[in-house]
């Protein structure tokens, strides 16, 4: 804005930016590179930068029957929980944005539940799901420890506060005049919501959904505590290559790459909304 631009200073600026970018990007880049390395090029000192790329790590990771299942579980759990969150949160957020239910107090209460340390919540959850799982109801519904439903429920709950806050900010951006004229034209409240508001809010809802998807996909603690084997997700599954005979870094990297890559893609889509999402809608970058 104000600096008088001089060439040496500009070179310094880009030099520092390059160093910072190198530092933020290289762990991810190295992860991807390592995932394509043959086993005997990984545990070498000094690190090898030139090698013949191979898919053996991916084949090993996927061939270890479980890992395909971990990916399936992750997809199932994150998509389904996101679906529930979007429905519940968009209704609630609209109400908070337009009718200001609870004068902001309820809304803030919702946020404080998000501030609870996850570890404090997971203990009671563990016991709830253990008890439900042992009961006939749990068996009939497929809810319990090491059941995917337990994670779907958990992720729905912990993404709800975030989703409501972010969506409130999107609903507030929609001018009320449109709704008012729809009302005057004889729409009832539900029709206004369905035919006027939701279509207008669709981009914001999509953005919120992608955030929820990322959070659910990347979640570790609940998956770690509430599952053992059948319902394991990728984030926890990566650790299965830490064997007694040592860490198999090749498969670890391949598994980690499979976990990280789709999210890198989503984050690039979300770029413009990152700031808004990460501040619960407060800063509208």
């Amino acid at each position: 804005m104000l600096e008088r631009r001089s060439t040496p200073l500009e070179i310094l600026r880009y030099g520092i930016i390059l160093i910072v970018l190198f530092w933020t990007v290289f762990p991810i880049a190295w992860l991807l590179v390592t995932s394509f390395k043959p086993a005997n090029d990984i545990m070498v000192s000094p690190p090898r930068f030139v090698f013949t790329p191979t898919l053996e790590n991916y084949i090993y990771a996927m061939g270890k029957a479980n890992f395909a299942m971990f990916i399936g579980n992750t997809l199932y759990v994150s998509l389904l929980s996101t679906f529930f969150v979007v429905i519940l949160a968009s209704l609630a957020a609209y109400s908070f944005a337009r009718y200001n239910v609870g004068m902001g107090n309820i809304l803030f209460f919702i946020l404080t539940t998000k501030m609870m340390p996850a570890i404090a919540v997971v203990l009671p959850f563990f016991l709830i799901f253990r008890d439900i799982g042992a009961s006939p109801i749990g068996e009939a519904l497929g809810i319990g420890l090491d059941k995917r439903a337990a994670l779907v429920i958990s992720y729905t709950i912990f993404n709800l506060p975030f989703a409501i806050w972010l969506m409130v900010s999107f609903f507030q951006d929609i001018p009320t005049e449109l709704e008012d004229s729809a009302r005057l034209n004889g729409y009832n409240r539900l029709q206004v919501l369905r035919k006027v508001v939701l279509p207008l809010a669709a981009p914001g809802i999509a953005v919120t959904a992608i955030f929820c998807l990322i959070f659910a996909w990347n979640e570790f603690l609940f998956a770690y505590i509430l599952t053992r084997d059948a319902a394991r997700t990728i984030t926890v599954g990566v650790e299965s290559f830490f064997t007694l005979r040592g860490v198999l870094w090749g498969p670890v990297a391949a598994a980690a790459a499979l976990s990280v890559a789709p999210m890198l893609f989503f984050v690039l889509i979300l770029q413009r909304f990152m700031v808004r999402g990460l501040t619960f809608g407060a800063v509208r970058g």
């Binding site: 600096e3 762990p27 991810i28 609630a92 340390p117 008012d180």
Partner: protein, 315 residues
Amino acid sequence: MASTSMSTPQDTRSVPKKQGRAMSDAWFSVLLILPAMIIIAFFALYPLFYAIYVSFQLADLTAGGIKGFVGLDNYRTVLFDKFFWESVRTTLFFTFFAVSIEVVLGTFVAFLINGATVAKGLIRSLLILPLATAPAVTGLFWRYLYDTQFGLYNYFLGLLGLPQPNWLGDIKVALWAVIMFDVWLWMPFVALIVMAGLQALPKEPFEAAELDGAPYFRVLRKLTFPMLKPVLFLVIILRTIDALRLYDAVAVLTRGGPGSTTETMTYYLYRQGLVFFRMDYASTMALLFLYAVVVASLFALRPLLNMFGGRATAK
């Protein structure tokens, strides 16, 4: 959120009154939040009440579960537990240094990038990549980067002729290794938000300052930072609340070790509750912890969010 700014839509809404039998706005609005609220209330309050209940009981899951009322015994045990206070100290140390470094570095990077003219979009997309990754997954991989034999960090340090620490094995270094990972993960978050704050600043005061020939650092001190203050506060508070709850990175990077040098409160809580199954201690600690975090968000976060909410709707 901002209650004042929200009153306008309500006033205009009362225009179509003719459908007398239709439900009132109040009912409609409550009906919309009900499904979400039932779920949140049940699953947020149940753990809370459970924790409160268990904190007054003797509850050792390895010895048959809840055994009876013990009054404030658990609170006394926790408050006199040396390891608990050590974990508090570790948590505060971690939070202070991680958040400070993230905020200072992130702000600096934001200023650099904000002033850049070339490839700004590309720079930004590369910068935010760490935010996409699961800390549990990248953290695991960082163990490879930190490896004393095969790790890239020590390789680079060796090239520069610098000392090569045993990142995760040295009791003096391990916590810093966790901090460095956290900075890697969250510095882009700070930079991104400060960049957004910088872009939202009004142009006029800066043009006026330029006409007056005010020196750069004076403008920075008198104009830029005062106007950025709310954004910076918000970032600091969000980061602090998050850093206090740090779990994933510790769980995969160090498991609290070496010794208990990187054992944060959450990790100690995890060990008490889910390794030793002492639900009573764990719940008591969780409550103390929760109390601290809720107080922090109530007094620090709420006014800020209100301010942002108000400002955004006023536009």
